[in-house]
Symmetry: D2
Subunit: 404 residues, 4 copies
């Protein structure tokens, strides 16, 4: 069995110091069991707890609230580093931060401040039950006079829902029909987490269903100032989501490419018709390595640029203009499409670069492709290209939505 | 669970009548359990026995020897039909016929005639231990005066070796260093079949190792007239091998594409940004269907043409000229490269066409890609392109070898 | 200056005998002056007359009317052969036959029979003024009682309009608003042919504008039984148009590829980093030759199949069913998309295969790309892919129109 | 006629202030006559003089020598800006700076200082006769005692040789056989500039032949400290050359894409089958715009990064290590391959995006492709990919040469 290679900071532009140490440590830990856990699927309880004790669940929370004060580029570098060896856990780590950002972007200081403090202090792991495409959850109307609201219905694709300490939930307002987003402790009576995620890739993301049976929701828990996509600043939330995905894709590509090199270098003999002895001297193999290296490199520079753009936009807060938001959206779209393609390409070419012995099931090297294939279906790449095209042709920025 | 779709003759140019009925029947049978067996791996004992009783193991054997007298185009159509639902068994069926052809091409009538008769009469399933790249088996020199030869050593990638009734074996002549090919009953003392194949794709091909410990070989069992690649006619053997692979690839592509259609049509809603209600009206989905359909169609026409070329070459027997053989090799190369690409493309795009719900592990739809990925590594596609290029540029036909 | 290579029947499946001789002769003639005439643009008067005297303008006209009785596959082979050296004249020759077919498909025996006879006897060259997208020509209503109709207005993209003996014209019926198609002698008073075609490719197709100033149209000249796309059989007309284009594309690809080989073989030295002396031994060059060869080969087999399908459909006459027509449309679409891509690919790669010296303006080797680029814009390839996708996904045949 | 669009700083990361003004002014000037001059070919005497009076020929020369003190990123931005409208002149401007850099990198302060001063003061335009692949020029051996050396023979591909004030020349040392590089005033007796460049693209680069007939060469004119590629620092010269090419490619891509937008927006009607009225609403057109935009964007970020890497390496001077040089070479290779592809892609797709009317010869929109096609043949892209692959697989940096 080829032991999954440990992580290294190579190719990461922003991560360093203490944060890098913590990230490398957990990535090395995850690498040890990644193959087995891919096989097993289910909840990575031990690894989630390791994340809790690593301090990284509060990486991005400002120091003043007890966090590590990481920037977005640093957070996304951690996502990428972890995804090289375990793209399921990388996704959960990334979504932890997406949810924290959502508290900040959709909620008021009175809401996100205590949640930041509590998350930092108690190393809370957040799960996601925000899914605007699945409209089966209904919330008692916000406009009623009743103090107590209640949510019922089901949600699918709830990443990190098993073993979550808190949930971010979306539902439809029973009267207005509008999307409402709120937080819930996962222990709140009436919540049932199915734990039924069973995809052939991203197997430990616990992205199964959640059911709400007349679950009480306090008005204080509803993020309504400014609310979902309630301001230009709030509308960068989906762009953070897209960049988390982007860096998971890129990490998968880098992880697959790293394995390819190990495999090729370990091959005994070059293809007879090559006229050379070692595979590392085969002109065609070198050409194909160059192709994959180039596609990963292009994805990297575009993703790094988008990470910096996000950080700049985030720091603009309510001064962020729709055009600045639009430009960020384009940077993100370019990074995402390129990274999605690089992840599929590298994880499939891995085997052409490595040869047939790399297909031994014991090594599970197909997991890179399976993870890339499942995760890149989050939302269709063609519509991201259309957004890029609309701007190129008629200078129209993407309309803010939960996917653009 | 989406039950694997049964086979249909759509897209098959040559198969009809009784042969088609037998082929469809076994393909439907295989489809029932394909998902489970992919998960289990190992030997498809029941399914192999079904092949034995189907009569198809003697499909290509001339009627005069008790076979069904199928042509190469018909045999390859069966390979493709079966590969749509089970590319492991399709490979074994194809290699059964590759081995039968090898008896004819490398051996004398005194050798292949009784073997054809016996295979037909007893529905023998042949396994492959001919692997020129693995040089670990040694045969007592043919030039010694001893009546009895003996082979020792190991072979890897021996498809169909478990549960084989007969084996086709290659070894190196201890004195001349030349490749020798011979047949053995698998019950001959000293043969040990490891049954250790465990790849993430083509999981039921039993392509593991075989060990020979001083196994007796009768001179009569050695195929030496004309011997391996011993004449222009004999040298079409690797082209038959390549065409079997080609039709397995194509069957995988067609199988994956068929599943995609079922999935897309079953999807509830189109992507919100598409502006249409049904996925079947989404312009981008239709475009991508067109792309995949076209790549499969090109592979089909090139493969059908190569099948006809093979049949024509086969019928030329010893009148076959090196140039005719060369032209066939080019037809085969074109078909193979195109089919290999179509299989990888269709089995990966399947999910972009179908959406995230198609990744449910219960359906195992990733098996198409896993099978394509493993099987297309048989020999590097770039060297086939080089052969096509050498002919295009300087009109040099591929030099006959076990891979060209 | 590299003299354009003469034609050869290599790669043509159907052309032979007397027809082949005539076609090769005119192709060789055209090759002599192709470079100069590409530079000059304008009308190829001498070459058009050569076509007249070659007898090929009546190639497809049945022998009983004085023609050569060629089949569609033969006619399309001639288009391809000529396009290898002169894609402008190939287009005009192809459209001659498209127009002849239109007489047959849209008109009655009383109309097409004398026109066939006259065309054959007087070696008439037809020009095209049928362009459904350009709606600026108006015809006096067919429903009026007046014996004499009259057409006024302009048409663009009228290929072969200069030096045409007869014109096929489309106009809008002033009352019904429907498309009407009719023939006119080009000498009819009131017709003005602009001769203003000046594109950077397909420079001698005379595809400029034509103006009609109250031009008299006899009712007998209107093709109304069954009329434009007036029956399933009549609706194969646009498919013939598409196949003419397809074979022009393919001829361009083959012509460009042929020049590439001459250039590469003539190059003095390989690239220093290649480690070989001759470019013909450079692994990368051979790989790229293989890629182009394969794309052309795929286009060829698909186009040949479509040509046979067309012939079969044509022979079905009014027995042709919508599904048979639909299947032909799909065959044609597959051939067309593949050929369009092959022509752009081969004519651009030509230079990567050949090296910088091939860009010498004296040789005008860029004309292949310029011709391919202009001609492949006839109608968008993406919509052809959509048609292929619609059939693949929901088994819907392309709706007959002037472009599908 | 569509007037070529003027330049704009959009997409340029580094250019600003006075330098930007000068660059925009000359680009606007060049745009006015670009179409005509592409048609005419030959020497752009008036435009070259405009460059002389613009001050930009000394853009990069340090202020202390009378130059404008531009950084490499700024110089390369000017190359790109100019290439959007006139890639021939952009090449000459870029090579002016490549030659100036060569004086610095291959020569001693006693050599480059006066040449910098003289170039700045007299606005000298340098021409290139350094071509290591063309070995027909011979220099009297440096090792002879004679004070006066002499060069004889011919050079091909001498960009900017006509109307050059000074030449940079390479020749083979008659005794050692090594490459020698020296400068010459173009008025030196015995120099004959053929002015015979006539390619179908990059038509005004004057890249024709130069003949030297016993031309005297002063030892002082020979750049031998450290000499050609004579130190790690000196060996960044070819990387500057590659980055000049890269930015010419990118400028062509951007220029072509800019024209496409103008054309698409000007089109009257969408394709009938699109179901929309305006081409700017056609989903397929938007998708294709997105594809091209993305390929240009990836090329841009990689090129900008490489420009910054060059500047950093340049400032390291003799402290530059082979590994730092190697990393720069990889950055440059990635930028170059991506930009070369983007230029070919954008300049060909331009017409699919724009439709058939964009092929009107009056607009000469094919010049973008012709320029890209000719210029991207400078050295083969596959070998750049091989360099990227060699580093990826075995961490081997490109061996410094005149092309890597």
């Amino acid at each position: 069995v080829s032991k999954p290679t440990g992580p290294s900071l190579t190719g990461l532009a922003f991560l360093q110091g203490d944060l890098a140490l913590r990230a490398e440590r957990i990535a090395a830990y995850l690498a040890e069991s990644a193959v087995e856990r891919d096989r097993a699927g289910g909840t990575a309880k031990r690894e989630r707890d390791q994340f809790r004790s690593s301090g990284l669940l509060r990486a991005w929370i400002p120091v003043s609230y007890g966090g590590l004060g990481a920037s977005w580029p640093e957070v996304l570098d951690i996502v990428r580093l972890v995804a090289r060896v375990d793209s399921s856990l990388a996704h959960l780590f990334g979504f932890q931060h997406l949810i924290l950002a959502t508290l900040r972007l959709f909620g008021s200081p009175a809401q996100f401040e205590p949640l930041f403090r509590e998350t930092a202090e108690r190393e809370l792991f957040w799960g996601n039950a925000l899914n605007p495409l699945d409209k089966r959850t209904l919330l008692t109307a916000l406009t009623t006079s009743a103090d107590e609201l209640s949510v019922s219905g089901q949600k699918s694709f709830c990443s990190g829902s098993v073993d979550a300490d808190r949930l971010l939930v979306s539902a439809t307002d029973a009267v207005s029909g509008r999307l409402v987003v709120f937080t819930l402790p996962s222990s709140r009576p009436g919540i049932r987490v199915f734990g039924d995620w069973n995809s052939f890739g991203q197997r430990q993301t616990d992205s199964g269903g959640v059911e709400f049976d007349k679950v009480k929701v306090d008005r204080q828990e509803v993020l309504s100032t400014p609310g979902p996509l309630g301001s230009t600043f709030a509308s960068i939330r989906p762009l953070i989501a897209q960049l988390v995905l982007t860096n998971v894709y890129l990490g998968i590509a880098e992880g697959a490419f790293g394995e390819a090199k190990i495999q090729t270098r370990a091959r005994g003999a070059a293809w007879p018709a090559s006229g050379v002895e070692r595979p590392t001297d085969d002109s065609y193999i070198l050409l194909r390595y160059g192709e994959v290296a180039l596609s990963i490199e292009a994805a990297r520079v575009l993703s790094d640029r988008a990470a910096l753009s996000l950080q700049a936009a985030y720091q603009r807060e309510d001064k962020l203009t729709p055009d600045e938001r639009g430009q960020l959206a384009l940077d993100v779209a370019a990074a995402k499409v390129t990274s999605a393609r690089a992840s599929l390409d590298a994880s499939s070419k891995l085997f052409e670069l490595s040869g047939p012995r790399a297909t031994d099931a014991k090594q599970s090297l197909d997991r890179f492709w399976r993870n890339a294939r499942v995760h890149t279906l989050h939302d269709p790449v063609d519509y991201k290209l259309k957004e890029l095209g609309s701007y190129a042709l008629v200078e129209q920025f993407p309309t803010p939505s939960f996917y653009s």
